[in-house]
């Protein structure tokens, strides 16, 4: 049996108002804040597409069912997921709904005078009284003035108040958080981020087609790409001789902006990107590109040039694929490049130092169909050998040639490549400003004590004080005040 429950009619406006009040209540804000913290956890434990696409791919390979299910819950894109966005958007609406009315209220109360002295001061904290000398009110006035209290004087009493910076700071802190969020949104809408791999000596002109990968915001206009070109002049990597760990990377570029007629020498390092307004050019990674010449059986050059290989470990053992689709039949090489060669029993050829002290190029030659015409995109570092046959294996020193029945390949030498990341981030300065204001606001709000002090002078002098939020330290201040009035100091 169900019972009819009488529900008061709210109406749609009433319902909206009710919802708004619930959303902007402190309790809801607190729950949303904690929820935001908890919602960030999965993204730190599960690999994310934006940071670690390879690990995400492994999830899909190892347990496709689970991965598919997780993907539907956006567990690989937590920070861009609808549910994560929902939490922070609700939190910020709640924040605005909370902060705006308080700002208006604070604005009014900051201009108002302190409330009049209460009648019964003996009921307040820090109450003391003593027989009046006569000049206490004057002394009190001076003291309040020197301490920058706001005062209301009336009928032989002064009501003084101080510590408005607490609420001001608090409001600025919250408004600054909104500014940070706006800055981040602005960046993601109007910003862009691209990667380009360049061999030493190569030139990069800033157009969309020059990038190996390019992501931009919904409102980014390609015309906003700044005009510049750069040529990779010199790249020096220094490594620790004992640990092989990198100690310094220095990249020198010839940089030209505007109409590209004049270029200047600029240096890019890991902690000092090349900056041009809101666009910055970062040195993100580096590696080796072996230079090869591939010839057919008649000796004609089928392909020549550097091929970037992808580093696999801290000693820069790198793997890559050299594809010659124009040869007939098609030829491809699966290779690995070791900058300082050594043999290890278990792993075969390894690199023992990241600098190219004794480079080798190890190649497996394959003949057949490279599978490039099928329209399925392939990694430039890997080769699909399912429709190919292996025709030979060889380890080459620089200058050496490997001849197989269908032709030959010569390992001419190597270039170093650098991976440049070019970022246009128009919102970051707003976010930074927001961050600075947030800290200043926080300091003001946490270290300002709001308090009231009263004095009434008749036959006796009565003083009392009240500290809001039970802030400590008023007793010391009151003692000082009383000492001043009594002329003890």
């Amino acid at each position: 049996m169900s019972q009819e429950i009488e529900v008061p009619e709210l109406g749609s406006v009433g319902l909206l108002r009710y919802g708004w009040r619930q959303l902007t209540s402190m309790r809801t804000a607190l729950i949303l804040l904690l929820l935001l913290g908890i919602a960030s956890i999965p993204g730190s434990l599960i690999p994310q597409r934006t940071q670690n696409p390879i690990s995400v791919g492994e999830y899909f390979k190892n347990s496709p069912e689970l991965a598919k299910w997780m993907d539907q819950l956006f567990l690989f894109d937590v920070y861009g997921s609808p549910w994560f966005s929902a939490i922070y958007i609700l939190l910020f609406i709640s924040l605005i709904g909370c902060v705006l009315p308080r700002t208006i209220e604070h604005f009014h109360s900051a201009r108002a005078l302190p409330p009049a002295t209460p009648k019964n001061l003996d009921r307040m904290e820090h109450h003391t009284s003593w027989p009046a000398q006569g000049d206490e009110l004057e002394k009190a006035r001076d003291w309040f003035k020197s301490k920058r209290f706001r005062v209301l004087e009336k009928d032989g009493s002064i009501s003084a108040e101080k510590g408005f910076a607490r609420e001001t700071g608090n409001l600025f802190f919250h408004l600054a958080l909104i500014l940070v969020l706006l800055g981040i949104s602005f960046s993601s809408l109007f910003g862009m981020r691209g990667m380009a791999i360049l061999n030493v000596g190569e030139r990069f002109i800033n157009t969309t087609t020059s990038y190996d990968s390019l992501n931009y915001g919904k409102l980014f206009n390609e015309k906003n790409l700044p005009d510049f070109a750069l040529t990779v002049d010199k790249f020096v990597a220094k490594y620790n001789l004992v640990t092989s760990s990198p100690e310094d990377y220095t990249l020198d570029v010839k940089f030209a902006k505007g109409d590209l007629t004049q270029s200047e020498l600029r240096t890019i390092k890991v902690n000092s990107p090349l900056k041009m307004g809101n666009t910055s050019i970062y040195l993100q990674a580096n590696g080796y590109s072996p230079v090869v010449t591939v010839r057919d059986s008649k000796g004609n050059v089928a392909m020549q040039g550097p091929v970037p290989f992808l580093p696999q470990d801290s000693n820069l053992r790198s793997i890559g694929a050299i594809k010659v689709p124009d040869a007939d039949p098609q030829i491809g090489f699966v290779g690995s490049f070791v900058p300082t060669y050594a043999r290890s029993g278990a792993e075969g050829a390894v690199s023992v130092f990241p600098e190219a002290l004794d480079p080798r190029l190890l190649l497996a030659a394959w003949i057949g169909d490279l599978g490039l015409d099928g329209g399925v995109p392939q990694s430039v570092y890997r080769m699909d050998t399912s429709k190919m046959t292996q025709v030979g294996l060889k380890s080459l020193k620089p200058g050496e040639t490997f001849t197989y029945p269908q032709g030959s390949i010569t390992f001419e030498g190597y270039f170093q490549w650098v991976n440049l990341e070019i970022v246009h981030d128009p919102g970051k300065n707003f976010a930074l400003l927001g961050g600075i204001v947030a800290i200043l606001g926080l300091l003001a709000s946490l270290f300002t004590r709001r308090r009231r002090i009263w004095i009434r002078v008749g036959k006796t002098v009565e003083v009392a004080g009240l500290a809001k939020n039970a802030a400590p330290g008023l007793d010391v201040e009151m003692a000082e005040f009383v000492a001043k009035l009594k002329g003890e100091k």
Partner: protein
């Protein structure tokens, strides 16, 4: 030259461990003797005098240990001509320094000697783990760490961590004593400890004091990330957990100031927030992926 400094640093760290151990023993004796000290009239009591003496010795040992550890951390930095914050061993010895430093600084204003037992053993265990498990030879920094921001970001993070953990220890003491009181009152030794209200206030004040510093540390990290990695925020696991810690402490401050949480609930929230910091330090540094992989393990 650099090797001499590295050896010197090791000796200093070992010596400081000996002093922290002595401090721990003195604190343990103090706690044991204090049980017999009656609260009334205790100033005239012989037991009170010798308890007070051993407590002073404990603090003195801790101060000496702090000085030696400080010298050890400095020497570690000199051995590689940089700030000593390049791997987990160095983070740990500096973190232990910050924790005992936060305790000693708080001691100047509040009588916290009852916490000394916990602080000395925590520092001793941290240093022990650092020396036995985390130790790596002194080496130069990788290029991404070569920045002035290393000094700003890491020092503020370590100081914040030290104070957060101290607030945590006090919140834990609160919960322990709270349970003791509800189960029939404090035992003799616990009677010397501060009132629940004082503990509650103290852990709040520590958090409120250091929360802006933590905020600053996160922002400094963002500024550094912008120049080193090309983005100021990328939800790297370390960044995510720093954010979670920030959110948790922000919730704690709001709960206290705006909603008026006190006592048990506030202490639990404080412990939760502190544990997110510890998780970030231990788990993300050692097993985590991402760009903050400087543990050297």
């Amino acid at each position: 030259m650099s090797r001499t400094w590295a050896y010197l640093s090791n000796y200093l760290v070992y010596s400081s461990m000996a002093l922290y151990a002595l401090s721990f023993i003195a604190h343990a004796i103090e706690t044991a003797w204090a049980v017999r000290v009656t609260t009334e009239d205790s100033k005239k009591n012989m037991d009170y005098k010798r308890t007070e003496k051993v407590a002073r010795i404990a603090t003195a040992m801790m101060i000496l240990g702090f000085v030696l550890l400080f010298a050890g951390v400095v020497a570690r930095g000199l051995s590689a001509s940089r700030v000593p914050w390049g791997n987990m061993y160095e983070f740990s010895i500096t973190g232990a320094l910050a924790f005992s430093g936060a305790y000693l600084a708080a001691l100047r204003k509040h009588d916290l000697r009852w916490l000394g037992l916990l602080v000395s053993i925590a520092v001793l265990l941290t240093l022990g783990t650092a020396v036995a498990v985390l130790y790596r030879p002194s080496a130069p920094l990788v290029p991404a760490l070569k920045s002035t921001w290393l000094v700003v970001h890491v020092s503020t993070a370590i100081i914040s961590g030290g104070v957060f953990l101290l607030a945590n220890a006090i919140a834990a003491a609160y919960l322990y004593l709270d349970r003791m009181e509800t189960r029939g009152g404090r035992t003799a030794w616990a009677k010397r400890l501060p009132s629940l209200e004082n503990l509650d206030q103290l852990s709040y004040r520590l958090v409120a004091f250091v929360f802006p510093l933590w905020t600053f540390s996160v922002i400094a990290g963002a500024i550094w990330a912008e120049s080193a990695w090309g983005r100021y925020w990328g939800w790297d696991p370390k960044e995510t957990w720093a954010f979670i810690t920030w959110v948790a402490y922000a919730a704690y401050l709001h709960a206290r100031v705006t909603v008026g949480w006190r006592g048990r609930k506030a202490a639990w929230l404080c412990l939760f927030a502190g544990s997110t910091f510890l998780f970030n330090y231990v788990y993300v540094n050692i097993w985590g992926t991402g760009k903050h992989t400087y543990s050297g393990l």
